[in-house]
């Protein structure tokens, strides 16, 4: 089953720590989004293999934009 990670906040993607094909554990930090001049760590919603990363550094994201997909 695949789990989608939607952006919880609007802001700018500062860093992406993972690539498609990598495996992550639930609650691993996968990226960091700057919002309101604050760096916000974004954590993996589930453990599994990342099938797709839809944003890159410096992208502007809105709330509920799809950030990545994890296959568990």
């Amino acid at each position: 089953m695949s789990v989608e990670l939607l952006s919880p906040i609007p802001g700018k993607v500062m860093k992406v720590f993972v690539k498609a094909g990598e495996t992550v554990n639930e609650d691993d930090e996968v990226m960091r989004i700057e919002s309101m001049k604050m760096e916000n760590p974004i954590y993996a919603p589930a453990s599994g293999k990342i099938t797709e990363v839809l944003v890159k550094e410096n992208d502007e994201v809105e709330t509920d934009d799809l950030l990545l997909v994890i296959e568990d």
């Binding site: 919880p8 906040i9 609007p10 919002s35 309101m36 604050m38 916000n40 954590y43 709330t63 509920d64």
Partner: protein
């Protein structure tokens, strides 16, 4: 011939001879403020000019705070007239986006709850024997808002100005240390881990444009004595939201705010003359100010808990702590704390709502207080 040298030399050591113990202590305190600002990054934009002003005014014989002295001139021009805090407010209005509040108006309640500390501290100060106007000035530290505190104190208890503003600004920078233990103590594990859904309701530009106007007119009619505070912050916000006067908005956010911050800081420092500042009263003011901010946090979290119950567990009570005016610091604290307990919890935008609510709330609280005092015939 030798006499001339001797008297000339005595002129050079006169300063040292006049240096009193209170002066020395205050120069050290000024040094500590500089240290906190420069090395510890505690509100450096304010603590650096305040600390330096404090050192300047405690050097004897320079008479910088006597009539004609340059610090006195700045003080009289900007603090006694209340111009500096009001100009800062234009900048704050221009910097603040009230969208998170408008998106979720319930958070405005939290911004109101965060002001209870002001009134509780006011009562406490009265009980401790402070005069009414002094108590008002001390309570206002609980607004957690430097310019509001300076505005009120300079008008009604100028002799407390140094203590009140140092308390307001230093506690503001200590928000990340003061708030979390209170937030933890007052909430249960289950409440803290409550996930709040992201809001995607968009606020129309017209609403955002009308908001400052409505608040100004309505707030001004309810609390006319507070209109200078409310009016300036809303002028800044109207300029921001209108998008029509970008140059003025930018100037208010940057140049004006920066210049005024410098002058404000140095004249606050200049009120910290050892002879006036080093009194037991100052210590009590500092303690009461601390209590005020703790009470604000507690009241905000309590209302958060009430909302948690009423919404059937949809509101995380932690966001209540952001109902103070320390913007956006307090919202960040909430975000961080929330994530500590549940990594999938992103409270930032909700906390921003409460925080922006607190920003207006503190101004309205001050305005209401002044108007009530006026009604009672005290001022």
């Amino acid at each position: 011939m030798l006499d001339v040298f001797a008297s000339g030399f005595s002129g050079l050591i006169a300063g040292f001879l006049h240096l009193s113990m209170p002066n020395i202590i205050m120069i050290v305190i000024g040094g500590i403020l500089l240290f906190l600002g420069i090395k510890k990054d505690f509100e450096p934009l304010l603590l650096v000019p305040i600390g330096f002003g404090c050192i300047l005014v405690n050097i004897p014989l320079a008479d910088l705070m006597e009539p004609g002295g340059f610090l006195r001139t700045i003080y009289e021009a900007g603090i006694m007239t209340e111009l500096f805090p009001l100009l800062i407010f234009v900048g704050i209005g221009a910097m603040t986006d009230f969208e998170p509040v408008l998106e979720n108006p319930i958070t405005f309640l939290l911004g109101a709850a965060g002001q209870f500390g002001i009134f509780l501290t006011l009562a406490l100060a009265l009980a401790l024997g402070f005069k009414e106007l002094e108590a008002v000035s001390i309570g206002i530290i609980g607004a957690c808002d430097g310019p509001t505190a300076i505005y009120v104190t300079s008008q009604y208890a100028p002799h407390l100005l140094g203590a009140v503003s140092v308390a307001a600004y230093s506690y503001m920078s200590l928000v990340p240390l003061i708030q979390p233990p209170i937030m933890r103590a007052l909430t249960t594990e289950k409440e803290r881990t409550t996930v709040m859904k992201a809001h995607k309701k968009t606020v129309s530009p017209t609403t955002k444009l009308l908001f400052p106007l409505v608040i100004t007119i309505l707030g001004g009619l309810i609390a006319p004595k507070g209109l200078p505070l409310l009016g300036t912050i809303m002028l800044g916000n109207l300029m921001r939201e209108s998008g029509a006067v970008e140059r003025l908005t930018k100037a208010s956010q940057n140049e004006i705010a920066n210049v005024v911050t410098l002058l404000l800081g140095i004249s606050i420092g200049a009120t910290m003359d050892g002879r006036v500042f080093l009194q037991p009263q100052t210590l009590i003011v500092l303690c009461l100010g601390f209590i005020a901010i703790c009470l604000d946090t507690a009241c905000g979290v309590f209302l958060g808990k009430v909302l948690y119950v009423f919404t059937g567990g949809k509101v995380n009570p932690l966001i209540g702590a952001a109902g103070i005016s320390a913007f956006p610091m307090s919202a960040r604290v909430v975000m961080r704390e929330g994530q500590k307990y549940n990594k999938k919890n992103y409270l930032l935008m909700h906390a921003m709502g409460a925080n922006a609510g607190g920003q207006i709330g503190s101004v309205i609280a001050a305005a209401v207080m002044l108007s009530v005092l006026k009604g009672m015939g005290i001022i």
